[in-house]
Symmetry: C5
Subunit: 380 residues, 5 copies
């Protein structure tokens, strides 16, 4: 096999960049298979208003019996680790080579494409991470036919389709009364709704950072703001083309989508716009946070400098006075040579002078409000 797998970023924690891309000059239609990936598991759902079958199948060819029946067939492929199976899948569903390439190769932009009797939809699903703030991002491809829907997911874990599976299983809602187009809508809707919990986490994190950035800004705060901006940038890249794709789906003239489902898709489109809105809002908030951070750091510098200035301005003159009376001019040689040293009240007067200087400077600083703020310099 000619094609080679390249990963843009070896480190897993940065989900910013497409993981795979075409080696320049590969033949169009080439499948980029990460042979380390798990072999695909294929689950077949076949249902109509009355009947319901759900089974895991071993070979793509087993689908053939179901595809042309009136009942809706949903073939759900998870994992992309075996080229042979994917090729055979392409043959079973009579996929155009470019469709198969798009379905199999990760890192595509969300889009729809119309191939006569099939509709290719590429979407991107996000799932929040359990432990830390962040999310997994995964490509989901849909191939919608007259009576069937093929979905291909990058990895077997983390999908947000369980509620849809349950609705088919239990016959909840109107899903069993509708065709494959409604199923595609229901899955797309689940994908879009999956953005909200992820965004909720960012909303909470931004709120936390808002307090932190004003009360005790640290370099870690800075790093986190940058990190959030980076991740929101990625969310934005996922959701923008998705909106265009769903909009295209609504306007598409293909008769694979019924009029009624288009109304539902309009609802789904509204949610997509809402997600975009939130992403943009969070992005503006995060970039405002950066400004606030910079200002807060400057403020803290001011406080530090004020402390230094107050301490220096008070003690440097005092030290000078002490230095003067530490001079060794010889009082014996002349009545003008430091007669203070021999005065009866010399030392007390000198101390009183120092106290007077210190107090008047303190009053000066206090009236300028420089002293009031030191209590506000907190842990850094």
């Amino acid at each position: 096999m000619i094609s080679k797998i390249r990963r843009l970023t070896k480190k897993v924690r940065k989900p910013n960049f497409p993981d795979f891309y075409h080696q320049p000059g590969t033949i169009p239609g080439t499948l980029i298979i990460d042979e380390d990936a798990e072999a695909p598991t294929i689950v077949l759902f076949d249902y109509n208003q009355t009947n319901f079958i759900r089974k895991q199948i071993a070979t793509p060819e087993e689908c053939l019996n179901y595809l042309d029946t009136e009942s809706v067939s949903w073939v759900d492929v998870q994992g992309l680790g075996n080229q042979d199976i994917l090729q055979r899948l392409g043959k079973v569903f009579e996929l155009h080579p470019l469709v198969l390439e798009d379905v199999v190769n990760m890192g595509e932009r969300p889009k729809i494409e119309d191939y006569e009797d099939q509709l290719l939809i590429i979407a991107r699903m996000v799932v929040p991470k359990e432990t830390t703030c962040g999310f997994y991002s995964e490509q989901v491809s849909f191939v919608l036919g007259k009576h069937y829907l093929l979905t291909v997911q990058e990895e077997p874990e983390h999908d947000c389709f369980d509620s849809v599976r349950m609705r088919i299983d239990k016959g909840k809602g109107i899903i069993r009364k509708n065709g494959a187009d409604y199923l595609a809508y229901a899955l797309l809707d689940a994908i879009i709704d999956g953005f909200f919990p992820v965004l909720e986490l960012y909303g909470e994190r931004i709120e936390e950072l808002e307090e932190e950035v004003i009360l005790k800004p640290t370099p870690q705060t800075l790093q986190q703001i940058y990190q959030i901006r980076q991740e929101l940038l990625q969310l934005r890249r996922s959701i923008w083309p998705q909106r265009d794709a769903i909009n295209a789906l609504i306007r598409d003239s293909s008769d694979l989508i019924s009029e009624e489902v288009r109304i539902y898709l309009r609802d789904c489109y509204d949610h997509t716009v809402q997600v975009m809105d939130m992403v943009e809002t969070y992005r503006e908030l995060a970039s405002g946070l950066m400004d606030v951070y910079l200002s807060a750091v400057s403020n803290k510098m001011n406080e530090i400098m004020k402390l230094l200035t107050v301490v220096s301005a008070i003690f440097i003159p005092l030290t000078f006075v002490a230095g003067v009376y530490g001079m060794n001019f010889n009082p014996d040689k002349s009545p003008y040579n430091m007669p203070e040293l021999n005065w009866y009240w010399g030392y007390p007067v000198c101390l009183a002078l120092m106290v007077a200087i210190a107090v008047s400077l303190l009053i000066l600083f206090w009236r300028r409000g420089w002293l009031a703020n030191f209590s506000s310099i907190k842990h850094d």
Copy 2:
């Protein structure tokens, strides 16, 4: 009941984010009811040019007698705390499941949607807070039919429809001579006009901050600027889609809106654009304030550093001179060892030298204008 209520932000003071959203995978058309919310109160207005009825009704079914008459029926629902009543409301008005979902679920974007013989309008109303600067934001949904208008508000308090109710009641203006479409316009217009007092408050606050930021910038100032930017961001998110919705309403081909009302809507559209203009202007002013804040903090740092430098530059050399004559070289051993200590005028000359140094440095600083500004470092 399957659907669950999730709140994006627990803290009430942050009105930035939609409070509710669909749990991923809920069935489309699911109503998200916050059972803690107050049960809806339903008020029915029925009027034509001569007659006028206003009564609170207990069950949605009581409306049925009024909906099909020629007179205009306005059913005003406030509060969303009871699912059963809302479901029955949907049945009475023959709402599409998605319409009912949009009406009931908060956090939708303003929009209009055309359902054959009904027009759904989602708007967002803001009401200024009494005590502090800020506002409540609430979704208002309109379902416009041939002879009726259904409005649904999130909460019973804070609406800005009183003047419209009064105009219907007293028969003021032309409202009683017109149909349900004019009523919808009048309410929308009241919503848009409700933005102005809120914006007025921001205008005043920005003016106050303008002075504060130049005269005595504090970290609190910074926090307030950030807060204002955040709230204006939210206002912007409310008003932009509203403009699009009203524009769509003007261009809409639906015959539920008469030509004459379209002319009035054009006026309403102008006001919306004016609100947007003001929001954008305030946003630019607020972001300019941030720049000014940063510069003002830098300026203050300059003043502090100048004070430190002046104090240090004057006293450090003097202290050095005092240090020199504090040295203990033995004058007895050599005529070159600190003969000054035994001079007759040694001490006075030394003091005079110190005064000369200090005065010449002060003159130097004064001519550079560094001394003139200390009076301007005010309370911080």
Copy 3:
């Protein structure tokens, strides 16, 4: 009277915000009259190629004789302080209630609106202030009919129509040969041309600030830059919708505007674009000035810190040396205890050491160029 007058900003110097707005919930078409304002003066011009009448009239009804004649009638209303007269004016010209509202209520956005046999044009006029930099901004409304033009100005002072009045009076140019549409063009053109002198002032102020910001940046400079940005923002808000309005006027299908006048309007449109261009240019310059200001303040801080560092770095080591020989170790107890104090050349060597340290540090700083710049720290 129901409607109440609200002013967004009490302070006159801030011309940023619309002065008046609708109290939420007022009936559409309500006139907002500031009863403190001056009563309107109405001047009627009636002319054709041969005849010319100019007279001040007391009641709007006096116009009636002139409106339907072939000659052009220009009714020029200045001041908005009397509701009764304005209502009667509306009746005389058969104005739609919304037109009358727009004409009378200040703070509208520039726009055109087409009402069958009338064209409403809202424009905004600026007049430079005599004493300080700044401008008055005033709304001018045009109602263009077949043979008449009604103009309504907010205040009697400061208009820029004198040259047009003079051209009508003296029969200069082609104004007397043309209809009401040409008159409307001529007035619009005068309004647009009125922006140039205002912009000229800003150009000069920005140039002055450019020098100031680099030579001696002060907090006042900062305040002025902010002020200019604010005022340019307001100019921008005035001119942008004006451009759209004039463009709409050119493209409008109304037969109230003749083809020839459209060619003249195209010229007027070009000037509007030129004004916008200049406003945008000045805005970019002013925002560039802010960057320069920030950098200049940082530069000055560098100079101050350098001075402090030079002074400290030179005198602190010297003071230390002096401190060492001020110690009281007893030379009698041991030959190792400060024998320098009893040396013959002890004190001169010590002084020489100090001079050597100071000179070598000075040379070091001089070679790094730190000393050369102190002459450039000027008055602040």
Copy 4:
């Protein structure tokens, strides 16, 4: 004569603003003549594939013989100092008053306008200054007729048409075989090509500043960056409308432009886009330079502060130690009163202590890398 000349900026070095503008209220079509300007020189070219005439003419009327012949007549007017000649020129070419106004009045935006049998093209030409970086900017107007082309330039010096004149003269290229439209194209192309050498200078200057800003940023650097941004802003204002004008020329339905010349204009359009691209790139580079400058200044401040901190942190503790042993507690009164002063090794141990403190602090700073960088603080 009514119109008056106003100059926005008296200082010649700032080419940012239109030099002239209409005094508000002047009659449309008024010519603004700077009577100090040089009187126009008029050069007539008349050529076809075989013949070629080039002569300077004194009165516009001399052109009349050539305009209607089949051969191409190019009337090249340079300088705008005589109103009478310009008026007669308008009569000879039968110019619409607004065309004459646009041609004569400087400071118009580039544009095209279609007047039945004439096409008005306003373009802006830039010529690099010989001595310093910068450029002259000059308006060139074209009036294109069936067999003639009138060009009007602001000043006689600095045009970039010599190569075109030479090509006509020598019969090079295909210019003699084509009509007036090709001539207009050739001149426009020369104008656009004239932007490249100007941009080349800015490219070089930016490269120089890139090095300067990182190695030794001074306030002069800042001023130069600001200057470049300002001049690029002006270039941008010249080239953007030019692009729109040329694009309009390509799409224009006028039959004064032949299909073949449109192909050439497409090429000219490409060059215009390329110029715009370069201007935008340079603008982004220049604004990036500002960021770099700010950061570089902060970096230098860090270095200065580090030096101060290192010097202070080392010598202040040492001075303290010296101060301790300069105290005068009486060792005779108590064995606890400064017995060190009488120790045999007192002074050497004290010196050793000081050296130990200094060395350990130096090691600390050295390991933090603070010492390594002082060699990099260069001349400022």
Copy 5:
């Protein structure tokens, strides 16, 4: 030869600007030949499904036999150093003079142009540098005819067409079954795919800088960020017009492109958008890095100032205390003159006082967290 070669930037390392441009006033269609460049090598491929010829040819005329046959002829010209050959090439392919100019002259923007029976495509190819981060950028021109494709590259080295050559050679994929349009697609696709490895390098570099900028920001970091922004700006300028060109190619009505190839081009377009997406993302990341850098530098300054302040605030008061007891007031003259000096516990009490002051200040600073951070000031 008239045309002259000008280079905008002499230094090779800056690939930001077009290397060549027209001397103002050159005749359109003039070829700008860099006579130092290598003479072109011409390689001819001629193939159909069964046959395949590949040979290097010496004169353009040798192509003539192949151009009109049904088999696909690919004439691949590399290097532009000989004007005569290029002129003859123009004649052989019957190129319009402007096409030849565009093909030969470097620095054009990517675009397509439709010339009846030929399609001109200008593209820009990037190839990563072997040693350092960076890339070579080279113009590739395509002239697509019915059965032939002419490609012209700027330089013989660094192209990314080898895989396509190999596919033709080995008969891999469907390339041999398709026409010249598919070949053009395959080459364009290889060009677009060639951007990914270049972007991968920037992704890695940005990740490295992310760590560096937070852990140890140096002026070199700043320079690198600026460098990356500059290079991404150039990539952006290369890819944006490419997208427009490919989009135009898909929508183009020319029958030189078959329907099937259009589907493949759609895929190529998707990749182009993906490249743009990545470039924009990297640009945002790089510009975010600049903000982080500025903040990190401020943070470091804070740390330095804190150290200075802590050291000064502790030792300056102590030095003052030592200074007081270094004063020479004469205890013999008065019981009030420094009796401490003669106390039995005088010195130990004084030392204890100093320790107490130091410890209490340290505790104060420690509780404010100022001490904890010094360990984090690392090498600079």
